[in-house]
């Protein structure tokens, strides 16, 4: 009996020390910030359950979940959240999370899609959403969404996904899931001096830590005419263009994908792009990437546009080079 008790005690001490060690080595970014006096955002104040996190995950990935024993209504018939957003990190170093080329290289390396939307990974650690030129697209609808993650989720469900108003439990569940994707210290690429400060529980300023991950996702729209002078000065990289085509365009434009238009590497497809370049129609590469399409009565699915932060001038030039070169 004594042996059993001593064994149990030893195991307990071991488990506690492992957990304590884990917490000590890998705290969340928000915990460090709060410890150093930062204001707690609203979406960090509530406690969520594992059930909510799982429900939120299913809502984000599949568009529906089980609630009170019944399947919920799909949020949207046409899209799920992950149609346009990843749920994992998109760059090796989060300091460059808004770099289009670093996102592309990481996507190609890891097999994740290169998408128009920002990742949900660390979304709760940002301070603003629907930034920059999204005001042009959604007008006053972004006023509340820009400063409130819950409102941003609702706007996305209703407009971006062409879905419906989320019920409160759905919004809470998605927030819970996003909280489970919050940044930890180990996700950041920090200088050793800063890691030491954190481990020694020394005071660090929020600004210092926030240099190493994005506080928002800037969004700059452009038009084919505005972009022409920039493209004229660039030389396209065929291989980089092929990467973009494979991990971005074909993510949606594939058999049984979200679009009726299936893109492939055939001459026919490339000839269609060549023929329509500069036509300002939907089949014009510059027009479709920078404007996208818009939902309309009788046909709600649409293509979101690429901001400059998600597809740079150089990358568009690369894509153009790939699609207009027939081997």
């Amino acid at each position: 009996m004594k042996k059993i008790l001593y064994s149990l005690l030893a195991i307990s001490i071991l488990l506690i020390s492992i957990n304590w060690k884990k917490d000590k080595v890998d705290p969340t970014v928000s915990a460090i910030l709060q410890k150093n006096g930062a204001t707690i955002p609203q979406h960090f104040k509530e406690k969520f359950t594992e059930t909510q996190i799982q429900q939120g995950k299913e809502l984000v990935i599949q568009g529906r979940t089980k609630y009170q024993g019944k399947k919920s209504r799909p949020i949207s018939k046409h899209f799920t959240c992950v149609t346009c957003h990843n749920t994992v990190k998109e760059t090796d170093n989060l300091k460059f999370a808004n770099s289009a080329q670093q996102r592309l290289d990481y996507a190609y390396k890891t097999g994740i899609p290169f998408l128009q939307g920002s990742t949900f990974f660390g979304i709760v650690n940002r301070e603003k959403w629907y930034n920059g030129d999204y005001q042009k697209k959604y007008g006053k609808l972004v006023d509340s969404a820009r400063n409130d993650l819950g409102a941003a989720i609702q706007l996305c469900a209703q407009e971006c996904s062409q879905g419906r108003v989320l019920e409160q439990w759905e919004e809470d569940a998605i927030l819970a899931y996003f909280r489970s994707l919050e940044l930890k210290i180990s996700d950041l690429t920090l200088p050793s001096s800063l890691i030491d400060s954190i481990q020694e529980n020394l005071k660090i300023t929020s600004q210092r830590l926030q240099e190493f991950y994005p506080l928002n996702s800037p969004a700059t729209f452009t038009t084919p005419d505005q972009e022409k002078p920039f493209l004229a000065q660039l030389t396209g990289d065929y291989n980089n263009g092929r990467k973009i085509y494979n991990v971005s365009c074909k993510t949606c434009h594939k058999p049984n994908g979200v679009s009726f238009l299936i893109l492939d590497d055939s001459k026919l497809t490339k000839q269609a792009f060549i023929k329509n370049l500069g036509s300002y129609k939907d089949a014009d590469l510059h027009q479709i990437t920078r404007w996208g399409t818009y939902p309309h009565s009788g046909h709600k699915p649409y293509m979101p546009n690429y901001t400059l932060e998600k597809l740079s001038h150089q990358q568009l030039k690369d894509l153009e080079t790939y699609l207009t070169t027939i081997e």
């Binding site: 018939k77 009726f260 299936i262 590497d265 055939s266």
Partner: protein, 274 residues
């Protein structure tokens, strides 16, 4: 024989594009026959198949064939990405039809052809007044078992072979077989990303049907848009469903028995995207 060799060499001169999942035809139907394509999962497709009256059958008097046209309205639904269920109703013989279509595999590396199977049931509701005693419900049924093998050569040329077995519960003439074997050949050529031309021919070896029956030959053009496919064609067959068009066609191109027709389809997403 020489012609067959020439055709084979021309076809073989195209390097097969072994791309996964490349579509061979614009739609699930070509003219009267089916293609290897199946409906997308969760999509419901509404199809109108219209065949105007023949050019040589008082064409103007029948208002360009409108008065003696045949129509089929149909719905197809993609149960899974490889399995489609469909049903329709034709004016010809006032027939209802239903079918299951299953795509077994796609042409890709190591798989030389796309293969799709189809099984359909057709029920004639039009009374056959010449044989009232034999015109029982069971005798109004016909069946069709079809296999499609299609291959894409290069980017543009698709060739499909489709052996078809049709079975008619009731045949009224001694020279008609209940079970009829027909060999279909369909060739599709993509002119652009959205436009393709098609040729469709069904050959029924002699001795299975009446001598007056002819083999359906159709030439058409497809226009694909987002969600719609428009198919326009000329054919010597006015029936839309097999076994009617493979067993009951009597038209001859050279005699002007030509029917102008169209298929229009529109797909709607029914099941939420996942």
């Amino acid at each position: 024989m020489k012609g067959l060799w020439i055709i084979s060499i021309i076809l073989l001169s195209y390097v097969a594009r072994a791309q996964d999942n490349e579509t061979h035809f614009k739609d699930t139907r070509v003219v009267n026959g089916y293609s290897t394509e199946v409906e997308r999962k969760g999509y419901l497709k509404f199809i109108i198949s219209h065949r105007f009256g023949a050019f040589n059958n008082d064409f103007l008097g029948n208002f360009f064939g409108l008065d003696n046209a045949e129509v089929r309205l149909g719905l197809d639904y993609g149960l899974t990405k490889n399995l489609t269920i469909g049903a329709g109703r034709s004016t010809l013989n006032k027939a209802f039809d239903g079918y299951l279509k299953w795509k077994i595999c796609n042409q890709k590396q190591g798989v030389p052809v796309t293969i799709t199977l189809l099984s359909s049931l057709i029920y004639r509701t039009l009374d056959n007044l010449s044989i009232p005693d034999d015109d029982t419900p069971i005798n109004r049924l016909s069946y069709s078992y079809e296999a499609y093998f299609s291959r894409l050569f290069g980017d543009r040329l698709a060739v499909q072979l489709s052996p078809i077995l049709t079975y008619r519960n009731l045949v009224t003439l001694s020279e008609e077989n209940h079970m009829v074997y027909t060999q279909g050949l369909t060739i599709g050529y993509k002119l652009t990303q959205k436009v393709a031309i098609n040729l469709e021919y069904f050959y029924t070896p002699d001795g299975q049907n009446q001598d007056i029956t002819t083999n359906p030959l159709s030439l058409g053009i497809d226009f694909g848009t987002s969600g719609h496919v428009f198919q326009l064609f000329f054919s010597n067959a006015q029936a839309v469903t097999s076994p009617y068009f493979v067993n009951s066609t009597t038209g001859n191109w050279l005699d002007g028995d030509i029917f102008f027709g169209f298929n229009i389809s529109r797909a709607f997403r029914i099941k939420a995207y996942k």
